[in-house]
Every structure is written in C-alpha cells, then in structure tokens.
Point group: C2
Chain length 257, copies 2
DNA sequence: AAGTGGTCTAGACCACAGG
DNA sequence: CTGTGGTCTAGACCACTTC
C-alpha cells in the first residue's frame, strides 16, 4: 500500500483507537466497543485487535475485565517517565565501591522520631546499628554516618559486624526470605550535629544531605529503616528519568553499543 | 487437573523456562531452543510458547531477533524497582499547589558553572529567569528561590512574567513542539548565601536542598536548566520505589480505590 | 442464558539473517 | 536457500459478569 510505513496492522489499529479516545469519541469511564465489534469494524482477526488493545493498556488508556469489557481510563496517554535504574542498589549509587563499617550493634527502644518514620509503636525495641561508610578500603574521611534500624523479627541477622560491602536489606532477603517489595526514600537538608561532625571529620553546623530509606515487605510493613547523613561536598544524589514510549518491538533502537 | 493453581499454560511454561535458565541449562550468551522446538517439547501451540517467551523478555532474561533466535541475556531476572510516578510533574512534587513568581527575565551569558551543567559553551547567552516559588496565592515566606536557564533557541518563549502554576518546560513543549525526552536531576546540600537568605526570609548559612534539573530533548541537548534552593525545613524530597513484577494480567490488584 | 475478555490451537505468509 | 522470529487468520473452549 504505502512505501514509507508498512507498520503492522495492530499498530495502525492501535493508533486509530488512540486518536479516537483522544478525540473523546469514547468517553472516559465508558466502555469501548467489544473485541468482536472491532474485528468487524476493521476487518481484522481477534488476534490483531487484541494486540492493538494491548498497546492501549500499556499506555494506561484503558483497562480490561473479562465479562465486562474495555473501559476508558484516560483521554491522554500518561506520559510515563521512568527512572533509569537496575535495582535498589542504584538508590545507594555507590554500594559496589564503598563499605559500611559498623561501629556498634544493640537492641534499643526506638526514639519517637524514628518510631514515627517506621510506623511502629514508640519504645518498641529494634536492632540498632551505627556505622560509617567509606570508600573501598580507603582510610580517608568517611562518606557518611549511617543509622540502621531493623525490625525485631529479624534481630538475629548475622554477619553485621565489621566492614562489609553487602547492603543490610540483602542480608534480610537471604537469611529470612523476606523480600523487599517497596522502598520509600526521603531526602532533606540538615546541619551536622557536633557528634556527627566529630565522626565525619567535618564542621558542626555544616549543611548535609539527610537520606532516609524505609524498606517495606509485601504486607507494607517496615522491616528496615536506614538513615544516612552526608556532608555536602562528599555526596550528591543523582537520578535520570527518560520518557517511556510503548516498548519498541520492531528492529529500532539497538541496546547493544 | 489441580484444584489449587490452574495457571494458564503459558505461565507454567514460562516458569519452567525461567528455572532452566537459572539452572544454567541454557548458557548466558547462547541461544534458547527455537519456538518450533519448544512447541514440540511441550506439546503446545506456537501462540502459547510465544506468550511464555514474552514473559522472559519482560523479565530481561532473553532477547529475540528475527532470523537469529532467542538469546539468553542473564541467569537472574532483573529485580526491577520502579519509581511510582505519573510524569515529570511528580519530580516537582507540588506544581499543582504552588506558583512560580518570576522576578526578572533577561538574556545573559552563562556562568562557567552553569555552562558546565548545561554542557554549553561558557559565555553563551541563555534566557535567564529568577523567581520565587510560593504556596498557591499565599503571601507567606516562599518555598524556594529558583533560577531557570533556557536555551537561546527558545528565548522567545512567551508568558513567563508574573505568577504562574505552569512549569516552564511545558511552555517549551507547547510553543515550540520541543518535547522533553529526558530529565537529569541532582540533589545536594548547600548553605544559604546571604542573598538567598534575604529573599527567602531565612538565615544565611542555614542548610538547604539544592535541586538541579536538566531537561533534554530527543537529541540529548540541554534545553532548560532549573535550579531550586529550598531551606531545610520548608521542603523534603520523597520518592517511592516498588518492585516490578511481570505485569499482572489476571484480576489481581485493583487500581480503582 | 448471553456476552465479555482470557486462553489456546493449527494453520499461514512475511522480512530478515545465516550459510 | 533454509530457518528464525514477527505478523495474522479463523476458528475454539473457558471463566467470569450481568441480566
């Protein structure tokens, strides 16, 4: 038919449906035509129609339910920007090249402030660890001070003394089979307390990044709280977000080079 | 067959293949059996086999290429955590409830520091805007000071004076059709300069969050640089990351409530 | 009972990569 | 040229929702 764009029919069909949704032809909250109806309208097989609708689902334009139909969720494809990230490790941004030196470990009642963060009853005893993070073996000034609180259910976690490059949440996954389903991260600016300044070899009152991560299990319970305080000049937090398109199926972008 | 888990065959098949990849039966970098071979092995149709392999692709375990085959990429499914985010707006985390008050706009040569950030020649003239961000109409102390630099190609951008709740990058998309393909964000801790402290009604030297966002177009060129400085107690940056599983097809999590 | 989407079969033709 | 994965058809049965 055309020399320029011999796109698969299901993509053409998807584009048509997207346009019609944007134009308001199918009101938000209402039902799209059934698969059978679309097969007739477009003279295509059910397979082709379903492949097309799959694209609409990926774009967040519609939702489907057996026995009901295809419901329009939005008139605009959600512009999904996606953080470029391989895993939790990218949150730390340096796990591989740094080590956590644990200074002390003890069971201790939670401060009210930490209890609030952990959504736990104040005064409940959690495993509390204090440490310093260093660049791989280097004896220079540490990158940050770290406080880690671990839910009492996992207080028997092993191998947490000394220096290690393995993050604590991974230990929990290994030893208890408790997998992390969600991480909540908060970043603030704070001034270094005299105690922190002493440990870091920095100046009290100097600006620092305060990073708190809550690790939640599948049931939404906090199993670990980790708080790091980085002097301003020793760390900055970076993230990259890319626009997410419908996953390129055809031979397009090569992910090789 | 079984009362407990009548999973679709393509899911069972996918699970089998995942196990075999993890066990090392198909070495990383090598080719999986062809679709036809799998159809014979499992006594399933090509459709079922392809649905199963689709899951492997989603998990990042294999890549496929017509004319070549299905290549094993990794022995472990990449644990993808995904930031919960609707769009760029979530980066600002408050666009809807706040307004940017522009104090002045001028063309000016870039500082060397900004030029480095923008990956632009030092001294090149960009459109430079200074402003304060307020809570919706409230006259209280501003949330932050903001400096925005816009690539000279878009210096004719309109309606940037006064107060507005519309982010500048959206103006660029509307007026020039230049869509933002990537956002790079960096967060640091800084001490407020006397000038910033004056504008913010805060104390000089107090800790603050320094947030810099680079907006890039499709070609990877920086089209806007936005730097915000938030006094510590007026803002914190939050993000949530969820473990990404193979997209639930069946009637599982309801996204309604 | 009727209709929906979810799963599955058994074919087919194509563009592309490789020998 | 053969074989790969990508696309597509015309059927089918099922679980589920709705009436």
């Amino acid at each position: 038919m055309s020399l320029i764009a011999p796109q698969p029919r299901y993509l053409q069909l998807a584009q048509t449906l997207i346009s019609e949704i944007e134009s308001g032809r199918y009101p938000v909250g209402g039902l799209m035509p059934t698969e059978f109806a679309l097969c007739e309208q477009f003279g295509a097989s059910r397979f082709t129609v379903r492949e097309a609708i799959k694209r609409l689902v990926d774009l967040g334009l519609v939702s489907r339910q057996a026995g009901v139909g295809t419901r329009v969720l939005s008139t605009q494809p959600r512009t999904a920007y996606r953080q470029v990230m391989q895993g939790i490790a990218d949150l730390q941004q340096y796990t591989a090249e740094t080590e956590l030196e644990i200074l002390d470990v003890e069971m201790a009642p939670l401060d009210p402030e930490i209890a609030a963060l952990a959504q736990a009853p104040a005064g409940q005893s959690w495993l509390h660890m204090r440490g310093l993070r260093h660049r791989e073996g280097v004896a220079a000034a540490p990158l940050c001070v770290t406080e880690i609180y671990i839910h009492p259910a996992f207080r028997s976690v092993r191998e947490v003394g000394g220096r290690s490059a393995v993050p604590v949440y991974l230990r929990l996954e290994e030893q208890f089979g408790e997998s992390v389903a969600e991480v909540q991260q908060q970043i603030r600016a704070v001034a270094l307390t005299p105690e922190q300044a002493l440990r870091l070899g920095a100046e009290a009152g100097a600006p620092a990044l305060w990073i708190c991560r809550l690790y939640l299990n599948r049931r939404g319970e906090v199993i670990e709280v980790a708080i790091s305080v980085h002097p301003a000049e020793r760390f900055s937090y970076s993230a990259v977000f890319r626009r997410e398109r419908a996953p390129a199926r055809g031979p397009e972008g090569s992910d090789e080079a």
